[in-house]
């Protein structure tokens, strides 16, 4: 999948006619999925494949407006008039910081014959890309970095890795390259399967706490009630456990399901069962 996106974008870039308006590309993937690495590798491959291009990598965290982009482009002086490929990592920052007018100006700049070719990365598809009035509506060809499969996860680990332990750890983590590295690091440190989980929870304790603290108290109460139950609880069980009424619980349950904090399983005649969607947060609450 990673290689597919790499070769697809590379092929399209190398096919671009220097005098035409180029197609901008956007790579979308979760944190840790390998977007930055992919951009760097693309930049390297483009420059190595063809003498017609020069690449410029920009860190979106440091871009506060079009002027930052212009300054960076000006810093590349090229007497051979190579076409510039602008690799803008984390374009999310730019889209949040700059208003629509400024974004329209950037779009106008890149949508010209011979203009820099834009390849960007983002953590998600923002409304700034999908709202009809937005500057970048229907501007990018979007490539999604899909989660790694279990087989892909395990194939990235050293051959002598305990696959069973690795598989159990990966069940708590998003299926990204960064997660594989986390898993590898824990297995190197840990001496037993039980300790694996302890180390994992310890490593993510800070971020779990921050997330938990950010939730309303009622949501925290619900999460604490559900944590001991891997299969979840029906509403009646939650009422008993929290000593709250349905009226007090239901609005939060709906919200938490909508926000994907909880999963709602509707099977059989006994009504829905609610369970925590994040197994790592659940373990943190149990530790």
């Amino acid at each position: 999948m990673y290689n597919d996106i790499h070769s697809r974008i590379l092929k399209e870039i190398l096919r671009e006619n220097p005098r035409d308006i180029a197609q901008p590309h956007l790579i979308v993937g979760e944190n840790g999925s390998g977007k930055t690495t992919l951009l760097k590798q693309l930049g390297q491959a483009i420059q190595n494949s063809s003498g017609a291009f020069k690449t410029l990598m920009l860190d979106g965290r440091k871009v506060f407006g079009n002027q930052d982009i212009s300054d960076a482009l000006s810093s590349i002086s090229d007497s051979h008039k190579k076409r510039i490929v602008l690799l803008l990592d984390d374009i999310d920052y730019y889209l949040e910081r700059c208003d629509n007018t400024e974004q329209f100006a950037l779009r106008a700049k890149v949508m010209q014959a011979g203009a820099p070719i834009l390849i960007a990365s983002a953590n998600s598809v923002k409304p700034q890309l999908t709202n009809y009035e937005s500057a970048f509506f229907d501007a990018f060809r979007i490539h999604y970095l899909r989660p790694l499969t279990s087989e892909e996860n395990l194939s990235l680990l050293p051959p002598d890795t305990d696959q069973e332990r690795a598989g159990k750890l990966m069940a708590y983590l998003p299926r990204t390259i960064q997660s594989v590295q986390t898993c590898k690091s824990i297995l190197e440190q840990s001496t037993s399967a039980q300790q694996d989980l302890d180390l994992l929870v310890q490593r993510f304790s800070e971020s779990c706490k921050m997330r938990f603290d950010s939730y309303p108290h009622q949501a925290q109460r619900i999460l604490c009630a559900l944590a001991p139950y891997e299969q979840g609880l029906p509403l009646q069980g939650l009422r008993e456990s929290t000593r709250q009424t349905s009226g007090q619980l239901s609005p939060y349950l709906k919200l938490m399901v909508d926000k994907n904090l909880l999963l709602k399983d509707v099977k059989g005649l006994r009504g829905a069962t609610y369970r925590m969607s994040d197994p790592l947060l659940r373990q943190w609450l149990l530790h």
Partner: protein
Amino acid sequence: MCISNRIGPPVEGDNFYGRSKEIALANRLLDSMHSLLLSAPRRIGKSSLAKKLIQEKQTQGWTCVYIDLEEISTEQGFLKLMIEALEKGGVWKQITGTVSQEIKTIRERVEKISIGPVGVNLTPRANDENLYNDLKELIQHDKDTFIVVDELSLFLGNLLRSDENNAKVKFILNWLRSLRQVSQTKVRWLFCGSVGLKNFTSALNLGYTVNDLTEFSLDELSREEAYGLLSSLCRSESIGYSDDIIHYALDKLYWKIPYFIQVLFSKLVEMNCKDIDKKAIDIAYRQLCSDSYLRTWSERLSEYRELEIPARKILKTLSQKPEGLKRDVLLSVLMSGEKPSQVELVDLQLSRVLDMLENDGYLIKKESIRTFRSPLLRDYWYERYVQ
């Protein structure tokens, strides 16, 4: 010819206009012992066509029955409606005391089908099968009979929600097939609905239950028929018109389904037009875009359940882009705010939604572009949900 403008319910009798080719084809197929499957978008005139066919077959001396399953969501409801309709239509074998008693017994057995929570049937399966077999035995197969079943897929979809392993749905489809397979039967069937029965059964690996049906399609009226309908309506209300004006109206509607022609005409009547001109057509069209006539297209989306929100997002976006959009842009619209890891799920959701919106006549796919099928519907949507 004087026709009345009937909006909403199926049109019957003299108010039915056009569709001569479709009627002729359907009659030929029915006469040569085919049973038919008609899937077409909502509001295109399926039920009206079915009723016209019934009218024609009745004049030929056929026994005819019309069964509408739109409001039915339980097996008990289905059986009761089937029995009532078949009885009213005179489909039973010659009624003797024994047959009459059998029908009464069957009715009692249907009443005893227990409805648990959420429509679950708690009675043993064997009793149900006997009931269906007994019903099947009562149907007369040796005289020309035409049975129309409207919205079967909709009913089965409703039933599916309480039918965990699809057993009931499978049973009913197989039962209906067995009725069609009776040796030398003269009973022909027409299944019509807005949800594609073939797609529905195929998704459940039950495609074999309908593979004996001949597919039959219905789309917009021909230019000639559309012209004929609108001009007849004008004459029926003594409203003056010219050829150019009729063509102008039809061009504006673009998708020439009877319903849209009827609602536009209805607007012109409301405006008390004595003679229609382009200005009147434009005003009527604009008023339709902000009026309640087309509200049903929005209300119907509640039937999409968990797919209603994605459907609305897509329609809202497309209403702003008359030229249409490619699939990957629509995917990005649905992916907005979602985790990238959800892309496969969302992609599947998109496929389902687009299928439904195309089947229901909201959208059309031309090469790789999706657009609103009707400019009127698109402009209504823009007016209602974007402006």
